[in-house]
C-alpha cells in the first residue's frame, strides 16, 4: 500500500478547515468597509492560500509513485507506551484542577513509569517521591508559584 496516500487525510482536513473558515467569514461580512479592511480580510486571504497549498500538496502526494516515497527507516514502535503517555497527559489536562499537581504526580508518575516505561516498582516509587519533593520545593516554596492544590488539599487549609 502506498504510505503517502494513507496520509492524505491531513492536507484534506486542513483544506476542509480552511474552506469552511473562508465560506463562513465571507458570507458573514465584506472584506473592506469604507476603505478600511475588516477583521475578516486577513483570515480570508490566509485561508485561501492555505486551501491552495493543501490542494497542491495532495496533488503531489497522489501523483508521486510509490517508488519515490522514501521508506521510513525500520523502527520498532511501542504503541502501548505511547498510549500510557497520552493517558498521562490527558490525566494532567482533566484532573489538574481537581486533584492538584502534587497528588496527581503521585498517582500518574508511578503508573507511567511501571507500565509505560517498565521501570521496577521500587525505583518508580523512589523517583516519584524525589520528583514530587523537588517540584514542591522549587515551585511552591522557592518561586512561590501557586500550583493547583486540588479540591482535597484546599479543603484542609
Amino acid at each position: 500500500m502506498n504510505i503517502a496516500r494513507t496520509r492524505l487525510w491531513l492536507p484534506s482536513a486542513l483544506g476542509a478547515i480552511a474552506s469552511a473558515t473562508f465560506v463562513a467569514l465571507h458570507l458573514d461580512r465584506p472584506w473592506i468597509v469604507a476603505g478600511e479592511p475588516t477583521p475578516i480580510l486577513v483570515p480570508c486571504l490566509v485561508s485561501l492560500v492555505l486551501l491552495a497549498a493543501c490542494l497542491i500538496d495532495a496533488a503531489i502526494m497522489i501523483a508521486r509513485t510509490p517508488a519515490a516515497v522514501r521508506s521510513r527507516e525500520h523502527q520498532k514502535f511501542d504503541h502501548a507506551r505511547l498510549a500510557w503517555y497520552l493517558a498521562s497527559l490527558l490525566a494532567f489536562a482533566v484532573l489538574l484542577k481537581y486533584v492538584g499537581f502534587i497528588p496527581l504526580v503521585a498517582i500518574v508518575f508511578p503508573l507511567l513509569l511501571v507500565f509505560g516505561e517498565r521501570v521496577p516498582l521500587h525505583k518508580a516509587v523512589l523517583i516519584t517521591v524525589v520528583t514530587g519533593l523537588v517540584v514542591y520545593l522549587v515551585f511552591e516554596r522557592l518561586l512561590a508559584v501557586d500550583l493547583p492544590h486540588g479540591v482535597l488539599i484546599s479543603a484542609w487549609f
Binding site: 476603505g35 479592511p37 477583521p39 516515497v69 507506551r81 505511547l82 494532567f92 513509569l113 516505561e117 508559584v145
Partner: protein
C-alpha cells in the same frame, strides 16, 4: 564616544552595579531554563526590591535578567526541545538535533560564545550609533513593518525539513492561529468562542512548547531507537565544546548574525523572533550544505543565537530613546525606569547620561558574566542527558506540564500545550515539520496589524509603493517569490519535487 564608554564603564563597574549584574544574570539564566516562568513575571516579583536601588543599578539588574533569560531559554531548547520563549524557538530546530547527534555540548557552547560575541559587537554598535538612532528608525512606520514581516513570512517557507509546499501549509496554518484573539485593529473578538483565556490569543509559549516539546516526547514514547540511545550516553568531556571544524563553520554565521541582529534589533516593531529566524534562513540560504539544516547544522544554532542576543541589546536603543519597547520584557524594563523617575525619550541621553551609557556598558559586563557563568555549566547540563530515557522522557513531560502552568498560573495554558503537543505529533507522523507554523504564528500578529494600519493610513495599497523604504522591501519580497517559483519549476522539470520527506519520527 570614548568619554561615553568611560562614563558608562564607571557606572557599570561600581561594585554595587557589578553585583546587580551578577545577580540579574544568574536569576535570568535560572528562569530562562524553567519553561513558562518568564522574565516578565520575575521582574514583577523583583520590582519592589529594585525600589531601594539607584535607577542605574536597578536597570542594570533587570538587563542582566533579560539577557540571562535569553541565554537560559536556549539551554532547554537544545537539551529537550522545549523553547523557553519565542526567541529561542529557532534554536530548537538545529540545537536539539545536535543534541540528538551527541553534540549538545557543542550546541550549548556555540550558543554561549555566539551570544557573547554578538552582544559585544552590538554594544560597540550602540556606542557608535546611539545618538543617531532616533533618525535611523524614523523611516519605519506600519507600511515598512508590513513589508519587512512579509519578507520574513516568505523566508519562513524555507524553514523546516518537509519541502516548500508543506512549509507553506504550516506557515499559513500558523497565520490562521495568529488571528485568534482580540482583533488588533477593531478590538473585537475573533475565533475566541467566548473563552476569556483566548482573548489575548493563543500564547506563543504553549504553542511552541506543545509543538516542539510535547510532540518530541510523544515521538520518543512511540518509538525511540534504543540501540542509538540518542547517543547521549557516550559523551566525553572533551567533546563538550565546539570542535575546530565546528568553529570554522560557525565563525561567519556569528559575524552575519551579529550584523543582522543589530540592525533588526534597532527596529522595535520587528520583535526578537524575526531577528533570530531571519539569521537562520540566511545561514541556510548561504550554506553549502543546506540539507543539513534541520538535522543538526551548527550554523543553524550559531547564527540565530548570536542574532537574538545582538538584537536584544540593540533593542535597548529604541526603548531608551523613543520609548518603544520591542518585547513585553522591554516594556517592563521601561516601566521600571518610569517608576524610578527616569523618563525615556529622545532627551534621555542628555538628561540621564549615567543611565543610558551605564546600561549599555553594563551589557558588556553582563555578557562577560554570562559566559563565565555558563560555560562551566555546560558539562552539568549535558550530563543531564545521560539520564536513561525511561526516566528522562517522563521527567520532560512533568517539566513541560509545570512549565505550561507557570506561564500565567492558568490551567487553560496546560490544555493548549497538550493539545498542540498532540497536533504536533500527528503533523510529524504525517511528514509535516511544524517549525514554520510557530514562526509564522509569531510574525502573523505583527503582519496583520501593520498591514491593516497601512491600509487605513494610505486608504489603499498604494501606500506601499509611495514610501521608498517599503517600496524597496516590496521589491525584495517579489524577488524572493520569483526565486522560489523558478526553483520549484526547475525542480518539477527534473521530477525531484515529487520526492518529499516521507516521515519524521
Amino acid at each position: 564616544m570614548f568619554e561615553n564608554l568611560i562614563l558608562g564603564l564607571d557606572v557599570a563597574t561600581m561594585p554595587v552595579n557589578l553585583g546587580m549584574a551578577l545577580i540579574g544574570a544568574a536569576i535570568g539564566t535560572a528562569i530562562g531554563v524553567l519553561p513558562g516562568l518568564g522574565p516578565v513575571a520575575t521582574i514583577s516579583i523583583l520590582m519592589p526590591v529594585t525600589f531601594q536601588l539607584a535607577p542605574a543599578s536597578a536597570i542594570i539588574m533587570l538587563c542582566g535578567i533579560y539577557l540571562g533569560a535569553m541565554y537560559g531559554g536556549s539551554i532547554t531548547s537544545i537539551l529537550v526541545n522545549v523553547p523557553g520563549e519565542s526567541a529561542s524557538v529557532v534554536t530548537c530546530l538545529d540545537g536539539h538535533q545536535m543534541a540528538k547527534n551527541g553534540r549538545a555540548g557543542a550546541a550549548l557552547g556555540i550558543a554561549a560564545f555566539g551570544s557573547f560575541i554578538g552582544g559585544i559587537l552590538a554594544t560597540i554598535g550602540l556606542l557608535l550609533l546611539a545618538p543617531a538612532i532616533p533618525q535611523l528608525t524614523r523611516g519605519f512606520g506600519p507600511p515598512e513593518y508590513a513589508m519587512l514581516v512579509l519578507a520574513g513570512l516568505l523566508l519562513v517557507t524555507q524553514v523546516g525539513t518537509s519541502g516548500t509546499i508543506r512549509s507553506l501549509i504550516m506557515a499559513f496554518a500558523g497565520l490562521m492561529l495568529a488571528t485568534v484573539g482580540t482583533d488588533p485593529i477593531s478590538g473585537e473578538q475573533r475565533f475566541t468562542f467566548g473563552f476569556t483565556f483566548l482573548y489575548d490569543g493563543i500564547g506563543i509559549v504553549p504553542l511552541a512548547i506543545g509543538l516542539f516539546g510535547v510532540a518530541e516526547l510523544l515521538s520518543l514514547a512511540l518509538g525511540r531507537n534504543e540501540t542509538q540511545k540518542l547517543q547521549y550516553e557516550k559523551l566525553k568531556v572533551r567533546e563538550l565544546l565546539p570542535s575546530r571544524a565546528e568553529w570554522r563553520r560557525s565563525a561567519p554565521a556569528i559575524g552575519r548574525g551579529s550584523v543582522i541582529g543589530f540592525l533588526l534589533g534597532l527596529l522595535p516593531g520587528a520583535g526578537m523572533s524575526l531577528v533570530s529566524f531571519v539569521a537562520y534562513t540566511i545561514e541556510k540560504a548561504l550554506s553549502r550544505r543546506p540539507a543539513e539544516f534541520g538535522r543538526g547544522a551548527i550554523e543553524g544554532v550559531a547564527g540565530p543565537e548570536t542574532a537574538n542576543n545582538a538584537g536584544s541589546q540593540a533593542a535597548f536603543a529604541p526603548m531608551l530613546t523613543l520609548g518603544l519597547p520591542s518585547s513585553p520584557t522591554m516594556g517592563v524594563i521601561m516601566g521600571a525606569l518610569m517608576i524610578h523617575g527616569v523618563a525615556v525619550g529622545p532627551q534621555l541621553i542628555t538628561r540621564n547620561p549615567d543611565v543610558f551609557w551605564g546600561v549599555i556598558a553594563s551589557m558588556l559586563i553582563s555578557n562577560l558574566i554570562l559566559i563565565v557563568l555558563n560555560v562551566p555549566l555546560i558539562s552539568i547540563f549535558v550530563r543531564l542527558l545521560k539520564v536513561p530515557s525511561s526516566l528522562l522522557v517522563p521527567l520532560i513531560m512533568l517539566f513541560v506540564v509545570v512549565g505550561a502552568y507557570t506561564i500565567d498560573n492558568q490551567i487553560e495554558d496546560v490544555w493548549m500545550t497538550l493539545l498542540f503537543g498532540v497536533v504536533g505529533f500527528l503533523l510529524r507522523r504525517c511528514g509535516f515539520d511544524p517549525a514554520p507554523m510557530v514562526l509564522a504564528y509569531v510574525l502573523g500578529g505583527i503582519f496583520e496589524r501593520s498591514l491593516r494600519q497601512s491600509l487605513i493610513l494610505g486608504d489603499g495599497v498604494g501606500i506601499f509603493l509611495e514610501r521608498p523604504v517599503s517600496a524597496v522591501l516590496m521589491l525584495v519580497c517579489v524577488a524572493m517569490v520569483l526565486v522560489v517559483l523558478v526553483r520549484t519549476v526547475l525542480r518539477f522539470r527534473s521530477g525531484a519535487a515529487l520526492v518529499q520527506e516521507a516521515d519524521q519520527t
